[in-house]
Symmetry: C2
Subunit: 353 residues, 2 copies
Amino acid sequence: MKALIAVLPGDGIGPEVVEQGTRLLKAVAERFSHSFELVEAPMGGAAIDLTGSPLPPETLALCQRADAVLLGAVGGPKWDPPAKVRPEQGLLALRKELGLFANLRPVTPVPSLYDTSTLKPEVLRGVDLLVVRELTGGIYFGEKRREEDRAFDACVYTVDEVVRVVRAAAVLARARRKRLTSVDKANVLETSRLWRSVTERIVSEEFPDIELKHMLVDACAMHLIKRPADFDVIVTENMFGDILTDEAAMLSGSIGMLPSASLGANRRGLYEPIHGSAPDIAGRGVANPYGTLLSVAMLLRHSLGLEQEARAVEAAVASSLDAGVLTADLSAPSTRPAGTREVGGSVIDRLGE
Amino acid sequence: MKALIAVLPGDGIGPEVVEQGTRLLKAVAERFSHSFELVEAPMGGAAIDLTGSPLPPETLALCQRADAVLLGAVGGPKWDPPAKVRPEQGLLALRKELGLFANLRPVTPVPSLYDTSTLKPEVLRGVDLLVVRELTGGIYFGEKRREEDRAFDACVYTVDEVVRVVRAAAVLARARRKRLTSVDKANVLETSRLWRSVTERIVSEEFPDIELKHMLVDACAMHLIKRPADFDVIVTENMFGDILTDEAAMLSGSIGMLPSASLGANRRGLYEPIHGSAPDIAGRGVANPYGTLLSVAMLLRHSLGLEQEARAVEAAVASSLDAGVLTADLSAPSTRPAGTREVGGSVIDRLGE
Ligand SMILES: [Mg+2]
Ligand SMILES: [Mg+2]
């Protein structure tokens, strides 16, 4: 197939990890006979320095034309407050312009990295979960007010906002183990009661083959640590998703391992590792690119529909990890850590083994 | 000293665990020459069955007169919806009438129970944290609306609401390791920005000896699993506290171990184990009373000012656990579990060892 992929290296370690992502995309294209056009564009702090804007019109136009967007990371102390134009604004604007309302965060700890997690290996065994977080609604985007002696935030959800993200999550569950856990606080919040009733209706009407469970957010925060292998797909509102995805990230030993995708109504998506721009280690060639390489696998699966290729990438990553090709954040202090490029090469070498 | 303690056994396993709590209070009174008057009253489902109300006026009047309230648990399938009068309403009303705005949940895993946690022993070593949750404000108590196609919840905090709970938490930190972590989402929420600025001011003006750190709620959800021993006292708003206390509870292997206190402007407090009424095991004499016994320690410390007695109870609990006196939720399947009364007796025997 032919595909146009926008590549936004961004800031800090972004360019280093994205370089391995583009190498991998080229290798996948070659091995599976696809034609991927990769076009780079500035984004975040790098774009502010070049153009004054964290999301220049040319970058946005490219992303809107592309089949998928691969992003490294944005931000850094150079553009921290009191700076008014900030790298993160570019990311928010990009999500909004592309209509991305579902954030996907899979967590699948691999046995060779169980040591790096603070959870016991027997708890991690069999964990393969995917959190789908609503990304554009809820209290983060509601009206805010500040008065002399009080502050106010509004949490609003419409039926349509819930419908589309639950539908997206149910489609994903259907391609996995067909189990969906919807997380809310329906015993207290009106938005959660709406969430629960809409979820109930959509799943029973459109996804009778999916097993749906409801769970309160505090119970879910427990369950994620107690029996994480119980989960398949979790779907939840914006703020609960913000908290639970970060908690779930700890099942994997390093956030350097974790990919993410943001999806909208069509197939176009934004793919990025969840680690930030890590300015403290930028430019030293030591950053962990596995999160980016696994984001490439998600890109292949969700935006290009190339399931076989996605699995080949995931298998190559697993094989590379098993072989002990580990960056500094993953390896024991006594062993020689692998560099960023070395990991990229190792995964590419193992592609389609 | 003389003290009046209201004892509300409640429902399910409540009466069984509270019985051990009253035995312990009597033993403490005897050993340390205090005069505790213990008066029982109906509460929750038991009170609904007796009087039609989950918090009868006589029970409330007793609690208002008492120096402290010891509660077991309330609720059970018998009073679940569609029942309109519910046991939990009694608890909410009691908290409100007593003006309890700070919920305290300490988590101090003991080495002899590290096996029962899903976290690795080296992560649990040194964990001794206390979460102080604001209990009467925020989105759980804000205005709620439902329209045809949308739902709405308001989150409001006033300066006064933040001041009083932060002050309570800082006082507690002062008696511990003098470190306070305030958790919010100030990068997004207006209520959190108010929370942060009030906390900053109160601590710098009134508690210059306390080391204050701010942490975002999602980062805290990570940190609690990654390096829980870093925390001393955590203070946070109602909903974040709801989620984080349940997450933190998992550091300890069983929620049967965990005590709680709810405090207000004066010394009167409500003390209860965090486990629920567990109707499935009620009446069989197998429930874990350690959470109640540790709640008694909190009662002695926070409402009666009996620090030495509180420590004696905690030491007796630790000694009993070390000796392997474990209820079924704590013990290996191969060993004979201790019964509820056996644990009570074991702790009393070790009091002041
Ligand atoms: Mg987050
Ligand atoms: Mg809770």
